[in-house]
């Protein structure tokens, strides 16, 4: 494995390098056509969907944001060889890789990325972009091309100065066992939701705007990210019915705008079972269910009172709607979201959620509808911004990369 060392640049130079990298990343010509085709296949996001996913991966890291990250995470003294982060990624979303690379480099950590087995290509392309646009950072980045179960990966996990990992709760538990008392960042399964109050749905224009915003958050990345809303909480009322009609239209349009690769038989089978389960649940009094003609998704299931949502959420653009009077009902309606919330998009004042919801139901990221998939650089993923979490790790004397 390549020996990495943390970025040895002054603040301004480091922020400049990062911003230059992000700017280059947003000009999608940096990916060769053949690589792009392969990336469409491996991510499952073809055409305009991949364009959007790539732009969103780099957009947060403008010059101002990079300066802020570097300043906030500035280490107190000289950096040493123990500032190496091993990042174990999960899933096909490009923003996951950049969401590690930029904050970690800003915190003057070298980064070794172990891409997800499902989508290993983007991380490799990202390394080539670094080599082209910010060669001064090349000594600080690398790839770990080892598969799960490879004893060499276990050794890497055990010995890396710091590990950041995403994956299932079980994966995280297994990694924690390997790490012992050494620093392990990241988190297991997380979901997000949207809360809309009734007054925000009174005006037809607002309803359409909110429907578009929710549909965007749902459809991007095929509802596969921790910031993808899987639940929508609404107050019952005539405006709500009108909003749901708008939402169906918006979801249909968003699904066309951001297509996904053809799903395999097993995924289609899974989706059919989830759709039928929700159709059955929503078919009881007070519920409703919608899928587009001739298709399974996007789907909207309004669950009748007292019917719990399917957990874990099916994903793939299936939105479950719960009707409730108050946000605090969340604890009763979806109790197993406890400690599993990543983001909440809401109308009104988001800070009121801090007062209404008990701690385990607080989401680290609060935003307006339509902004769930656009978190700013340095957002508090899993409760703490990565660059600050890294900055807080005290170096181990004598450790090496």
């Amino acid at each position: 494995m390549k020996h990495l060392r943390p970025p040895a640049l002054e603040d301004d130079a480091l922020a400049g390098s990062l911003a230059r990298l992000a700017r280059a990343g947003q000009d999608l010509r940096w990916i060769a056509p053949a690589d792009r085709t392969r990336l469409e296949r491996s991510t499952g996001f073809p055409g305009s969907h991949l364009d959007e996913a790539l732009r969103r991966a780099f957009r947060p890291y403008n010059r101002e944001a990079c300066r802020r990250l570097v300043r906030q995470a500035r280490p107190p003294g000289p950096t040493g060889g123990d500032r190496v982060l091993l990042a174990i990624l999960a899933g096909p979303i490009p923003a996951l890789a950049t969401g590690v690379l930029f904050p970690a480099l800003a915190a003057r950590f070298a980064v070794r990325i172990r891409p997800s087995a499902r989508e290993p290509l983007f991380a490799r392309l990202l390394m080539s972009l670094v080599a082209r646009e910010a060669p001064e950072l090349v000594p600080s980045v690398g790839i770990v091309p080892l598969r799960s179960g490879d004893p060499r990966l276990d050794r890497e996990v055990r010995e890396a100065p710091v590990v950041l990992a995403y994956g299932t709760d079980d994966t995280l538990r297994a990694l924690a066992d390997l790490r012992g008392d050494r620093p392990l960042l990241g988190g297991g399964h997380r979901e997000s939701l949207v809360l809309l109050d009734r007054t925000s749905l009174e005006s037809p224009r607002n309803r359409r705007r909110l429907a578009d915003a929710v549909a965007r958050d749902v459809c991007l990345y095929d509802q596969g990210g921790c910031l993808s809303p899987t639940l929508l909480l609404l107050e019952p009322g005539p405006e709500t019915d009108l909003f749901l009609r708008d939402l169906r239209d918006s979801l249909f349009r968003a699904a066309l705008r951001w297509p996904v690769a053809p799903r395999d038989l097993e995924t289609r089978g899974f989706l059919r079972m989830q759709v039928e389960a929700l159709r059955d649940l929503a078919g009881q009094a007070g519920g409703s269910f919608w899928t587009p003609p001739g298709g399974l998704v996007p789907a909207v299931a309004v669950l009748p009172p007292g019917v719990p949502p399917l957990r874990p959420s099916p994903g793939h653009r299936i939105l479950q709607v719960l009707l409730c009077r108050d946000a605090s009902d969340l604890t009763r309606l979806a109790p197993d979201l406890r400690d599993h919330l990543q983001g909440i998009a809401c109308t009104g004042n988001p800070s009121r959620l801090r007062e209404i919801l008990p701690g385990p139901f607080q989401a680290p990221y609060l935003c307006r509808p339509g902004r769930l998939q656009a978190p700013p650089a340095g957002w508090p993923e899993n409760g703490r911004p990565l660059h600050l979490a890294l900055a807080a790790i005290r170096p181990r004397l004598g450790a090496t990369a």
């Binding site: 038989l265 289609r268 089978g269 899974f270 059919r272 079972m273 039928e276 059955d280 649940l281 298709g295």
Partner: protein, 358 residues
């Protein structure tokens, strides 16, 4: 609970269903004549829909987990069969209004597909008794089979979660001495445990002996090499591959399909009993797939008269002639199946009872 809709009373239909189940050569047209009114009574054929089997709206198997599927007062159920649901702690429940209908279906299927000549004189069950597992549809099924067809009391080979290999060898010896075929009834995982426990010590059975196993690939997500299992059974028990019958069933159904080469020649496949029709359907359109293609299994089971005559499962399979094969669970669906009951016995292997000294 499914609210009874318009149509002939279920009692009228039940008499006709029972007659259909008991017929030696049931008229296939009668299936459709029964299916449509049953679906109407169960509310599975929306008003105004075409009166065809394709128009029947199936109940997803998940519905058995979330609500009582019954066209009768659930308090009147004679039995409640439960699927494993071990991961969620939320098992599927099949409320059985009349066990005699289940018995009729079970015996009719077993007689057709397993009791071919020469008829077995001995039965060995590795599946626990219904008295031990009152909510297991498989245990109850084997109870019915043994009560109806066993000439000798079945040998108790199972002791809790363990298999008593010595008792099994004793039963095999008695069958050999009597020169009568033996029928071994087991879950697939139990069979694997048995094979593992026997090691290389063969106990050949008389010609005509057979195995009926069930659960297969649905068991706990563990893949089962059927060809290897059949080879092992031939090597250890002298049972030819064609006498290894596999049953496909599920808690949510009152009827079964069988892969029984002696009865249904040709490529190995599950063929349903005449009162169960299984369609392999495209997951999106729910239309039947062409021969050789894969899809979800959608069952139309007349014996589900009191619950849901059409059930859409999370099983994927390939359409093969008049049946289906290569069954596996939709990923993301919970591992399930009767074999789960035996998982403890099969893995780890210490579940096998230690050999007694001769």
């Amino acid at each position: 609970m499914i609210p009874p809709a318009s149509g002939p009373p279920l009692a009228d239909l039940e008499a006709r269903v029972r007659a259909f189940l008991q017929a030696d050569s049931p008229d296939p047209r009668t299936f459709r004549e029964l299916l449509i009114p049953i679906a109407e009574v169960q509310g599975l054929l929306p008003p105004g829909a075409r009166r065809s089997p394709e128009a029947v709206r199936p109940v997803p198997e998940s519905a058995f987990k979330t609500r009582a599927i019954a066209c009768f007062d659930p308090a009147e159920a004679q039995a409640e069969f439960r699927s494993s649901g071990t991961t969620t702690g939320w098992p599927g429940r099949h409320l059985v209004r009349d066990l005699s209908l289940y018995r009729l279906s079970v015996l009719g299927g077993f007689r057709r597909f397993v009791l071919y000549d020469p008829r077995p004189g001995f039965f060995v069950r590795l599946v626990p008794e219904g008295s031990v597992r009152p909510h297991s549809s498989l245990s109850r099924m084997i109870d019915f089979v043994v009560e109806a067809f066993a000439e000798n009391p079945p040998v108790p080979v199972r002791q809790g979660d363990r298999l008593d290999l010595e008792a099994f060898r004793g039963a095999c010896a008695r069958a050999r001495e009597a020169g009568r075929p033996l029928c071994l009834l087991a879950t697939t995982l139990d069979l694997l445990a048995l094979v593992s426990g026997l090691g290389n010590r063969a106990v050949p059975l008389p010609p005509g002996s057979r195995v009926m196993h069930t659960g297969g690939a649905k068991a706990s997500g563990r893949s089962v090499d059927r060809a290897a299992l059949r080879r092992d059974l031939e090597r250890l028990l002298a049972i030819p591959p064609d006498d290894v019958v596999e049953e496909y069933g599920m808690t949510e159904l009152m009827s079964q399909a069988y892969d029984s080469p002696r009865v249904v020649p040709g490529p190995r496949r599950f063929v349903p009993v005449p009162w169960l029709r299984t369609r392999v359907v495209h997951p999106v359109s729910l239309r039947s797939v062409p021969e050789g293609r894969q899809g979800l299994l959608l069952h139309l089971d007349l014996a589900n008269l009191h619950t849901a005559v059409a059930v859409l499962t999370g099983d994927l399979a390939r359409r093969v002639r008049d049946g289906f094969g290569e069954v596996w669970r939709v990923p993301g669906s919970l591992p399930r199946g009767c074999s789960l009951e035996a998982a403890k016995a099969a893995s780890p292997s210490p579940g096998i009872a230690p050999e007694r000294e001769p």
